[in-house]
Every structure is written in structure tokens, then in C-alpha cells.
């Protein structure tokens, strides 16, 4: 019994070391003074810690701009994907339409093809639209990866919601627009 517990925790520790050590190493590196980064033998404990790297990265205008860009792109991609995706998902989950499964399958197929197959064409399209090297262009191309997933996940979510409310709305004479709350 004790041997078994020991084996269990040994396995868990090995798993944690493998998973977390690279993070520790990045943290360690970030707190070492630049001169100690390439020390041989390696220095495992950043003591005394140095704020040198943090100071220089936070004073770096390129880095700060990149952070701002990431936040802007992430926000607008998420909002746009949610807006378009939730509408499509509601229709896919609740309305009975011809060609519904084909549409769902095509949306899923979007997540499966290799990105390398479209980068060239997206590049020339963005250049033609004057969106090359712009945040709008970046947001738009990210929709290719986020929108299918959003639609799929939300379709599952809407299917899980109780139907009774909508049914009573239909019985009371509301059309699909009113019922969905649009």
C-alpha cells in the first residue's frame, strides 16, 4: 500500500516536473541579470533577482505596441465572432431549414484545412483591399479560425436550452425574429 502510494506520487511528480519546468525556467531566466543567462553551469536560482529584463521590456515601445495590438485584435475578433457566430448558431440549432447540415459541415470543414493552403491567397487579397499590415486585416483573417469554432460551440449550447419558452412564443403568434429576441 505504501509502495503503491509512493509510486503514485512519484508519477505525479515526474508529470509535474515535465509540465512545469519550462515555465520555471522562463521565470528564472526573466529574473537573472543578462550576464547570467548563458552561465555554465546553469544557474537554477535567480538570487538576488534582477528587474533588468522587465525594465527593458516595459520600456520597449515596440513591445508595448505589440501588446496593445494583441489586445485590440483579440477583442475585435472575439466580439465579431460572437456577434456573427451566435446568430448563425441560433438558426442552426432552432430553425428547421433545408441545407442546414450541409452548412454546418461546411463551417466545420473550415477548421480542417491547412492554414498554409490559404495564407498566400489571403496575403494577396489583403494587399488588394489595402488591408495589408493593418489590424483590420488581421482581425478579418483571424475570423477564419475563430468563427467556425464559435458557431459549433454555440450551436451545441443553444440546442441544450429548453425549448418550451420559444414554443409558447410561437403559439402566441410570434414569428422567428421576435422569438429569438432580435
Amino acid at each position: 500500500m505504501i509502495a503503491r502510494r509512493a509510486l503514485l506520487w512519484l508519477t505525479v511528480s515526474a508529470m509535474l516536473v515535465y509540465t512545469l519546468f519550462p515555465f520555471y525556467w522562463a521565470l528564472n531566466g526573466s529574473l537573472q541579470p543578462a550576464a547570467r543567462l548563458f552561465a555554465i553551469p546553469a544557474d537554477y536560482w535567480p538570487w538576488p533577482p534582477s528587474a533588468e529584463s522587465y525594465r527593458s521590456v516595459l520600456a520597449n515601445s515596440v513591445f508595448l505596441k505589440a501588446v496593445r495590438n494583441s489586445i485590440v485584435v483579440a477583442t475585435c475578433t472575439t466580439l465579431a465572432a460572437l456577434a456573427a457566430g451566435s446568430l448563425a448558431a441560433y438558426a442552426l440549432a432552432r430553425f428547421r431549414m433545408r441545407g442546414q447540415n450541409v452548412a454546418l459541415g461546411m463551417i466545420l470543414a473550415m477548421t480542417m484545412f491547412p492554414q498554409i493552403a490559404v495564407v498566400g491567397a489571403i496575403h494577396s487579397m489583403m494587399t488588394a483591399l489595402g488591408l495589408y499590415n493593418s489590424l483590420t486585416g488581421l482581425c478579418l483573417s483571424y475570423m477564419l479560425f475563430t468563427l467556425p469554432l464559435t458557431t459549433w460551440v454555440l450551436t451545441g449550447f443553444f440546442r441544450g436550452l429548453p425549448r418550451q419558452l420559444e414554443e409558447s412564443a410561437y403559439i402566441d403568434g410570434a414569428g422567428p425574429w421576435k422569438t429569438s429576441g432580435m
Binding site: T19, P22, W25, G85, A91, F95, R96, P114, G175, P176
Partner: protein
């Protein structure tokens, strides 16, 4: 009845309107570029070249298929995919079994093992690069200087025999959490009564695993296998950061990128893209076919 038909028609019209934004966006960023890539693959287009583009028919495809490096890249991609997916599945299953069993700090451990999945690959591959460097890398420091497990320092990323394994190691580190997560979800779908019944019948833990867990987990394993294989066949960022596709680590994705961006051969690169797309489509169709066959036997 009349009202029912009416509602149907209304739903149909509203439905397509609801789907219009999504379909329009996907048409612009998905279908159109894909069609464009296919059209370009039949020409000799070059990036930023002033020369007029000419239609060359299937020539790019013939050139591609008679090119040794493309086949080498294809083989490398298949080997990386097969080995890393196999390891991820084995490790992921082990960890998933461990983390669904009753133990202390289970929630905390579950959160901890998911961390690698949350980090962008470019960033984690950089960290691994820093760890694997032969001279000051911490991996050599641990294995050689501290633990004396190896006689001398190893150039993990600079030796042709080792570079692919380094890429596999990073891929395994990054995606095992994803596999674990899906397998844990699958394990939770197996009702506890099945195990109780097996235990009453005198099945050992080992027998329970082979006769109950594994067969009931098969559908989940199949999904994981396909999703991971599709992802691994497209592997790009880890390779690009760690070796730039040198030393026997060129994959079809880095090969295509090199043709398009470095050599500016957009037409030829597009032909390579379409070929990868076709191979992946075969995988997807096989999967859908298998899934449907699986559903029919269940019914």
C-alpha cells in the same frame, strides 16, 4: 396546418438571414482564398514579380511530385505525426486515468497540467530552444553536469538524428494536455455501475481497464486521434522556431512556406498547398465515414 407551413417558411427565410454574416465572412476569408490558391496552383505566379503570370496547367503538380525534397518532407511529417500522436495518446490516457481517480489535490493538478496548452506555440518553442541549446542549455546541464546520466553534452537541435525527436518532445509537451482533457471527458461518460458490475464479477483492475475502460473509451480515442493527426500533419511553428526545417526536420508546411515566401514561387507553393489539402481531406472523409459506420452499428 396552414400556420405550420407558414412558420416553416418564415423560419427558413430568417434562418438564412441569421447565417448570412457568418457565411459571408467565411466565404471571404475561407472559400475565396481556397479557390484562389487552387487557381494559382495552375500558373507560374511569383510573388512581387513584375513578370506576367502564365497558365501552366498541371505542370506544378508534376514538378512537385517528381521533387525528392517534397517526398522527404512528406515522410518526415508522417513520422513526426505518427510518433508524437502515439506518445500523446499513451501519456494522455495515463494522466487522464490518474486524474479521474480519487486523489488529493485533483483539481489543482488538473489545472497545472493544462498550462502548456494555454501558451502560444511560438513562445513555448522559444523557451524549449533556450533549454535545449548544447552549450548553456539546462537540459544538458541537468543530464550531464548534475545527474551524470549522459557522458557528454548533446547537440539536441544540431544533430540530424536528434532534431526531429526534439520537435516531437516539444509537440508532446504542448499537446498532451489537450489529449488528456478530451480523454478525461470521455472517461467521465463511462457509468460507474459498469465498473461495479465488473468488480462484482471478480475482474481485476487490469482486466477492468482492458475489458471495460478501453472499449467504452474507443469513440473518444478515435476523435482524439483524428483531431491530433490533422493538427500534427500541419505542424509549422514548433519546427520553424526550433530548426527552421533544417537537419531532416522539413515538414510539408515549412516546405510550402519556403517555396512561397523564400523562393517567391507562389504558383508552385500553391500546388503544394492544394496537395496537402487533398491529403487532409482524405483523412477527414475517412473519419466521417468511420464515425457514421460507428453510429450505424450502435443503432
Amino acid at each position: 396546418m396552414r400556420r405550420g407551413i407558414d412558420l416553416h417558411r418564415q423560419q427558413e427565410r430568417a434562418g438564412w438571414l441569421f447565417m448570412a454574416p457568418t457565411l459571408a465572412i467565411l466565404a471571404v476569408v475561407g472559400f475565396y482564398p481556397l479557390a484562389q490558391t487552387f487557381a494559382t496552383s495552375l500558373t507560374d505566379a511569383r510573388m512581387a514579380g513584375g513578370e506576367p503570370t502564365q497558365f501552366v496547367g498541371m505542370r506544378n503538380y508534376f514538378d512537385l511530385l517528381s521533387l525528392g525534397p517534397f517526398w522527404t518532407a512528406g515522410l518526415t511529417t508522417l513520422v513526426i505525426t505518427a510518433v508524437s500522436v502515439a506518445i500523446e495518446l499513451a501519456l494522455g490516457l495515463g494522466i487522464a486515468l490518474l486524474l479521474t481517480s480519487r486523489m488529493r489535490w485533483r483539481g489543482l493538478l488538473r489545472a497545472a497540467i493544462l498550462i502548456p496548452w494555454a501558451l502560444p506555440t511560438v513562445v513555448s518553442a522559444r523557451v524549449w530552444n533556450y533549454m535545449l541549446v548544447d552549450t548553456y542549455g539546462v537540459v544538458n546541464d541537468l543530464l550531464v553536469t548534475r545527474l551524470h546520466l549522459l557522458p557528454e553534452k548533446v547537440a539536441w537541435l544540431a544533430e540530424p538524428g536528434l532534431a526531429p525527436s526534439a520537435i516531437i518532445a516539444v509537440d508532446v509537451w504542448k499537446t498532451t494536455p489537450f489529449v488528456t482533457l478530451l480523454l478525461m471527458a470521455g472517461l467521465q461518460l463511462i457509468p460507474a455501475q459498469t465498473y461495479e458490475a465488473a468488480a462484482v464479477d471478480g475482474a481485476s483492475r487490469w482486466q477492468q481497464f482492458w475489458k471495460v475502460t478501453l472499449p467504452l473509451l474507443m469513440p473518444t480515442i478515435l476523435v482524439v486521434l483524428i483531431f491530433r493527426a490533422l493538427d500534427a500533419l500541419r505542424i509549422f511553428d514548433a519546427v520553424w522556431v526550433l530548426t527552421r526545417g533544417q537537419l531532416g526536420t522539413e515538414t510539408v508546411a515549412t516546405f510550402t512556406y519556403r517555396q512561397m515566401i523564400d523562393f517567391r514561387k507562389i504558383g508552385f507553393g500553391s500546388a503544394a498547398s492544394v496537395t496537402i489539402f487533398a491529403v487532409i481531406a482524405v483523412f477527414v472523409i475517412t473519419y466521417l465515414w468511420l464515425a457514421r459506420a460507428g453510429m450505424e452499428t450502435e443503432e
